[in-house]
Symmetry: C2
Subunit: 491 residues, 2 copies
């Protein structure tokens, strides 16, 4: 029987000496860690940052580079593009997105602080252009900024909160935004004189007799270094998408997706370090499931059906909401059925779904797909009849996306596991206060321990309510909150 | 900031004295705790059992009283009723039930040990009658024993494993079986001279410097008693259905059910005690969702539809599988549509669903239910056309349950939250080995700590794969394994 627990916390009495002494120690140099470091350093704390890989970036650097922001009358970008966003609308929207899992305190803090966060980002050098990109896209192709990045205009959200675009893409061409964000933030970290170590693997936390967190053990250059953190340790080590055993154990639904999304360090090590000192990991079954079928936006004119030829969602939702529903279908086939012209140039579609069949008539298509006799024909005829009147009585797709699907027909095979690109990352993590303080299962604070970004369970809580920019928005915001709170702590 | 963590483990150095010294301390006197106590005592260990309430029983005593058992050529009951059950069929069935979440080691041990477990139960006084109750029912009304208690005969399970009835109801009239089981087991515990304390609240575990578990603190008669457990502590304190905050945080889908099922002590306290010493809680989002629409079995001739008039499951599945699918529908209406005569005496149906509408024609019914024009009519016509041929191309309901639904029609409102009785309990808990040893998130054993029953995450892992008798089967089996292993441990 093993006598060791990994990552078993190290009692402070067993620390042979301190190699590094600082006020705030941060694990992970992605979006959350960088913002935590900047806030803590600006508040006057000595900060040391430890990053597993050879460079700053984390998963933020791999992302398109959007922040989900708004409310308070609108960010400068929203206002200059003619959008008047209210905090209440933003709160109502995000609360519905999170459903039963909503952390109201976090949603409130995020919505109320979103403009200040935008201004902070700008003050720290993140560029945003005052332009609106009106097309249905996961990211602007151009260096434009504002985009509808969630399901704001789609049912049922459109009935709950006045729609407003809140995706703020950083000013960069294409999908290089995340890398630009991290370049800027890591420059700021360095300018502030924050000590940062690369290729530094955080091993475990150091606790005292009262189980306060007093530091951590880091392996650098093959040696264990003992880091004293007078004010606290902030875990910003990402989620656990790259840890296959953890995904199987905690988030089995995600496994039907095709690939984890993120950087190789998203192994859940930060969550495990927190759990090993009694931190609660919550919402571990949830994740963002991408289903990037637009562009071309014109595929939104199509319909998604399962093996029973049943539609299951309004296709004008955000692609991630649709992805989550696709996994939930438990169906052995999912097809996107569209007019051939509306499929556009499929080689440009990120989804990369195979063409399962194409046909001039619906009975032909149905037969080619080996669907149950009459089901697909009836489903499309029903859809078309109502679409011609601008109606979608079943799922309320918005009128602008409604028109009868005309031949020639194409069916794309969107079945998870059959070729389409449906990647995922995790949304579960350590339970924290708005301040980033980590909680036990009973809701008590673990003194000296903080978490932010996807190591924590933050504002985004459900794949069915995900929006582009909400994870980076939350990661940078929660990183700041944790950095600020840690810096204030009595050491 | 709080300096205490609840239930913060107590360092052994802070134990003022030992009030009780034993080899094995067990928390919770339900099915798991009783079996753990019997095995440990029979192996020669001194055992002390602590129960929060004033009597033995736990949630097992509240259950109908079935054990899911089979394989190995069949239990004596199966064989005498003419069923030849194979271990492979049982394993294949349970593996599919658990899906991605399957713990293969646990399923193997359970299937291979099921006959021995049956014999052990009989040897300890549990009576089973050698009779088969062939009707579709959650429990026999009579004192009969054997029943199809899961989805063995339903698609897709019927294609994966040769169906065999494995629900073994204890010989008792009606639903008093669970109480009888616990009466017998608790008599055994007492005959073995096991010390047992009622109204004894386990507060926290006692750990040494190596974080081995050395005992626990129990509150009895308003006083904290320090219990030394030389060989180990076994947590058998049930699941967390009664802890609303935990259900919201960990298993939000279950919340759409109408009521938690179990005894008031199912507050997750055992899981929390385990987590507080570094135990991993896994599969926390899952639960059993009951949807007791039979008897009358004749409702199985009906169809379940959502607000879009889409069927979503073969109605001949086990009621719990159907309940889970109902919650997953995210639909604002779910109806059971059936012929009036097939509804039988609805006042006898446990589901207690309101009649939403009754009508002589389908268009009338559709209109009364305010369903989308044409949808329900088309769905029923499609179903009836195929049912007349003995076919269910959409969901493969077995031929014996297929016949066209004739007027007069009745629609029962089965929408979660609108009156129907859809209770739930939790299936997540501490990660354990087959021996009951509790694991950390990294998969290391916590020496001296065991868990069984719903405090652990056992064989039943998914609501969609639940079967009556699998939780009590697993609880009693896992209790025995933990009791045996703890008794063997070096003290």
């Amino acid at each position: 029987m093993s006598k060791t627990r990994h990552p078993e916390p190290l009692p402070i009495d067993n620390v042979p000496h301190w190699d590094i002494e600082t006020d705030v120690a941060i694990v992970g140099f992605g979006g959350a860690g960088a913002c935590a470091a900047i806030e803590a350093a600006e508040a006057g704390a000595a900060v040391a940052l430890f990053e597993l890989s050879s460079t700053a970036g984390g998963s933020t650097a791999l992302a398109g580079g959007e922040f989900y922001l708004g409310g308070n009358g609108g960010t400068p970008v929203q206002r200059s593009c003619g959008f008047d966003d209210s905090t209440e609308a933003m709160r109502n929207y995000l609360t519905r997105c999170a459903g039963e899992q909503a952390d109201n305190a976090k949603i409130d803090a995020y919505c109320e602080g979103a403009i200040a966060h935008f201004n902070w980002l700008v003050a720290h050098g993140i560029p945003f252009k005052n332009t609106f990109y009106p097309h249905r896209h996961v990211l602007p192709f151009s260096d434009d900024c504002l985009i509808y990045s969630g399901s704001e205009t789609a049912w049922p959200f459109s009935e709950i909160a006045k729609p407003c675009p809140r995706g703020h893409a950083v000013q960069a061409e294409g999908d290089a935004g995340g890398a630009l964000i991290m370049k800027i933030l890591s420059d700021q970290v360095q300018q502030l004189g924050v000590r940062h170590e690369y290729e530094a693997r955080a091993l475990t936390l150091i606790t005292d007799k009262e189980t306060n967190i007093r530091g951590l053990v880091v392996r650098i250059d093959q040696q264990e270094r003992y880091v004293r953190a007078r004010k606290g340790v902030i875990l910003c080590a990402g989620g656990f998408a790259m840890n296959d055993a953890m995904v199987t154990k905690y988030a089995p639904l995600l496994h039907s997706g095709t690939a984890p999304m993120g950087n190789p360090g998203d192994t859940g090590s930060g969550i495990q370090m927190g759990m090993a000192v009694g931190g609660a990991a919550i919402n571990m079954h949830e994740g963002h499931v991408a289903f990037p079928f637009y562009p071309p936006a014109s595929l939104t004119y199509g319909i998604l059906v399962n093996a029973q030829a049943q539609r299951f969602i309004n296709e004008d939702c955000y692609q991630g909401r649709i992805g989550y529903y696709c996994l939930e279908q438990r169906s052995n086939r999912i097809y996107m059925l569209a007019n051939m012209e509306d499929c556009g140039d499929l080689s440009q579609c990120y989804l990369n779904a195979d063409v399962a069949a194409s046909a001039e008539t619906l009975p032909e298509l149905e037969a080619d797909l080996e669907m149950i006799d009459g089901t697909l024909v009836a489903a499309v005829e029903f859809y078309n009849r109502h679409a011609a009147r601008g109606e979608d009585p079943l799922f309320h797709k918005a009128r602008k996306w409604l028109k009868p699907i005309e031949p020639p027909y194409v069916a794309l095979d969107c079945t998870p596991g059959r070729g389409a690109y449906i990647p995922y990352f995790t949304l579960g993590g350590l339970d924290t206060l708005v301040t980033g303080e980590v909680l036990t299962p009973a809701g008590e604070v673990i003194p000296g321990l903080f978490a932010a970004g996807r190591t924590a369970c933050g504002v985004p809580r459900r794949g069915s309510g995900y929006a582009s920019g909400i994870s980076i928005g939350d990661a940078t915001f929660s990183g700041r909150m944790a950095g600020r709170r840690a810096a204030l702590k009595d050491s």
